[in-house]
């Protein structure tokens, strides 16, 4: 187990996390923009993320448990932007009337009488 390989693992883990963020941002942008380029770039970012994940699994000195965590996290990162988006749309749709938008308004569901 080379110390340099372990340190390089740290850099790979950072790249892994960064690419998951880039995938998330591009995917989210693709929902707004008409230009399909964002969707393609998002897929490319996730592709790179998967490549880095594979490198971590196949090349780094991490134990099997941690490699399973990396694979599992990659799947969660894949699902997270669409799930978050759906939940955002659903919460915004159920947000209610203009009355509810008032800054000082108290939603009747969450007001507690003290």
């Amino acid at each position: 187990m080379s110390a340099l390989a372990t340190l390089e693992t740290g850099l790979l883990l950072g790249l892994y996390a960064l690419l998951s963020g880039i995938w998330g941002v591009l995917w989210a942008l693709a929902q707004f923009r008409q230009n399909p380029i964002f969707g393609r770039l998002a897929v490319a970012a996730y592709g790179l993320h998967t490549l880095v994940a594979l490198t971590i699994v196949l090349w780094t000195p991490l134990g099997i448990g941690w490699k399973c965590l990396i694979v599992g996290s990659s799947l969660v990162f894949l699902a997270l932007p669409p799930m978050t988006w759906r939940l955002l749309e659903s919460t915004h749709q159920n947000a209610g009337s203009e009355h509810d938008r008032e800054f000082s308004q108290h939603s009747p569901r969450v007001v507690a009488r003290v």
Binding site: L7, G14, F103
Partner: protein, 464 residues
């Protein structure tokens, strides 16, 4: 304007001054690496660093308190309860901070006795302030909690956000009591100290800034209460769900059992997940508005908060959180790189965002824009990210040369510090710190002159 909001302005002013003090002593500390004889014998490195990290904590706390004092009356429909006490304590707070700083600079050390801990320096990182001042902070925070809870009681109602805030303030204050004891056993000392530091910055502070961002979003984007409250609960669940046992990532090497390597590594590896959710949420909010807003700096700083939190705390933390990597990266400039980026993204950007929201109201501006805020935004963020990058280079080299190859002896430490890449990284860090400092001065100039410059700023149509 409520008295609470007038107090908020005072807290933000003090916060901005302390931000400058933090930056100044950061520059001094950074320069020490380039010129070790700089102020040697006059102001040692550790004193400069103490002032740098203590003003970091205090300016952010003041920013949080300013934010809450600003939003609270509008939230609960009445003046803040006990505001007279808060107003008096503000001056006590500022005076105490000044006295503590003066003693740090001019007295520096006492003997190895209780008196030194009570009046000069407690010598535990982030909580070096002498016990009398720590006692003062407890009083100020208890009164702050009373202000919040008492207002809800007096108003005979509360909201979801304020309820979360009230509950959060209890552990936040109780954890601070860990700043008091002098524990001989270093393992036990650090064990409890990490309860304070981690469960502040990776738990209770995250909930606190979450509450502040929820309040700010309702004002900035007109987001409905139901939406911000739903997402506040989601954030609290995910951040604390990962962060409470993520505390274990500080328990790898301090003499604690080895099961912490697995538990701490696993839960802290999950910590970036909710932060990615926040980034997606930020893009959603920005996109839904087409980046149109009546307060551009507030919106951009809020975006910086979401992205900075994910990258600084999430990505940079993820690099060094697994124990296999941390064994080499621990206690190096790699840690410093993460720390600077994380604090900036998770907290500083959010406080600056609220500052601009407050200014929009106090200066009576229909629309906030201009070029100054863009320059400060660019310089501060580029300066900070640049520093982080430079420290990453130095940290990586140090981890390799000192820890991996050298075995962390004195000679290994020196080899690491004298390595050309390490030195170049520290030089670059200092230069970028100057860029950051320039950004600070532009920020201050913008804040002071906003709405007091050409009338065109207030009259410009939001359709730009």
């Amino acid at each position: 304007m409520y008295r609470s909001q007038a107090l908020a302005i005072k807290y933000f002013s003090a916060a901005m001054i302390l931000f400058g003090v933090m930056t100044l002593f950061g520059l001094v500390s950074a320069y020490y690496y380039l010129n070790p004889d700089f102020l040697f014998g006059i102001l040692p490195f550790n004193i400069a660093k103490i002032i740098h990290i203590n003003t970091l904590v205090i300016w952010l706390l003041m920013g949080f308190m300013g934010s809450i004092y600003w939003f609270l009356p509008g939230e609960l429909g009445r003046e803040t309860a006990g505001i007279w006490a808060a107003e008096a304590l503000f001056y006590v707070f500022c005076t105490a901070v000044a006295v503590v700083a003066v003693v740090f600079i001019f007295v520096q050390y006492g003997g190895s006795n209780e008196a030194a801990l009570w009046f000069i320096n407690q010598g535990r990182k982030y909580v070096e302030a002498p016990r009398w001042a720590a006692l003062g902070i407890v009083v100020i925070m208890v009164v702050f909690a009373y202000n919040v809870i008492g207002t809800a009681v007096a108003a005979r109602q509360t909201t979801g956000i304020i309820t979360v805030l009230m509950i959060d303030l209890i552990p936040l204050i109780l954890l601070y009591l860990i700043a008091f004891p002098a524990i001989s056993n270093m393992s036990a000392d650090l064990f409890w100290w990490w309860w304070l530091v981690h469960l502040w910055v990776e738990a209770t502070w995250e909930v606190l800034i979450g509450c502040i961002m929820a309040l700010a979003l309702m004002q900035l984007l007109g987001t409905s209460r139901r939406i911000v409250e739903t997402w506040l609960y989601i954030e609290v669940a995910l951040v604390l769900g990962t962060g409470i046992l993520g505390l274990g990532h500080h328990y790898f090497w301090i003499g604690t059992p080895s099961y912490w390597l697995t538990i701490g590594g696993f839960f802290s590896a999950l910590e970036p997940l909710p932060l990615l959710g926040m980034v997606v949420h930020a893009v959603y909010d920005a996109g839904a508005q087409h980046m149109k807003t009546t307060n551009r700096p507030a919106l951009y700083w809020m975006m910086a908060e979401a992205f900075g939190n994910f990258i600084g705390a999430g990505v940079w933390g993820f690099m060094i959180t697994l124990p296999q990597v941390n064994l080499y990266a621990h206690g190096t400039q790699w840690t410093v790189s993460h720390g600077h980026f994380a604090f900036w993204g998770a907290y500083s950007c959010g406080v600056i965002s609220v500052l601009y929201l407050v200014l929009q109201k106090t200066r009576n501006l229909a629309f906030v824009d201009g070029s100054l805020w863009k320059w400060s935004f660019a310089a501060l963020n580029l300066g900070l990210v640049g520093m982080t990058g430079a420290l990453l280079v130095s940290g990586f080299v140090q981890a390799f040369v000192e820890r991996a190859m050298g075995g962390s002896t004195l000679n290994a430490f020196i080899s690491g510090q004298e390595n050309a890449w390490f030195v170049d990284g520290m030089v670059a860090r200092f230069l970028l710190a100057i860029v950051f400092t320039a950004g600070y001065f532009v920020l201050v100039w913008d804040v002071v002159t906003l709405g007091r410059r050409a009338p065109a700023v207030a009259a410009v149509s939001p359709a730009q």
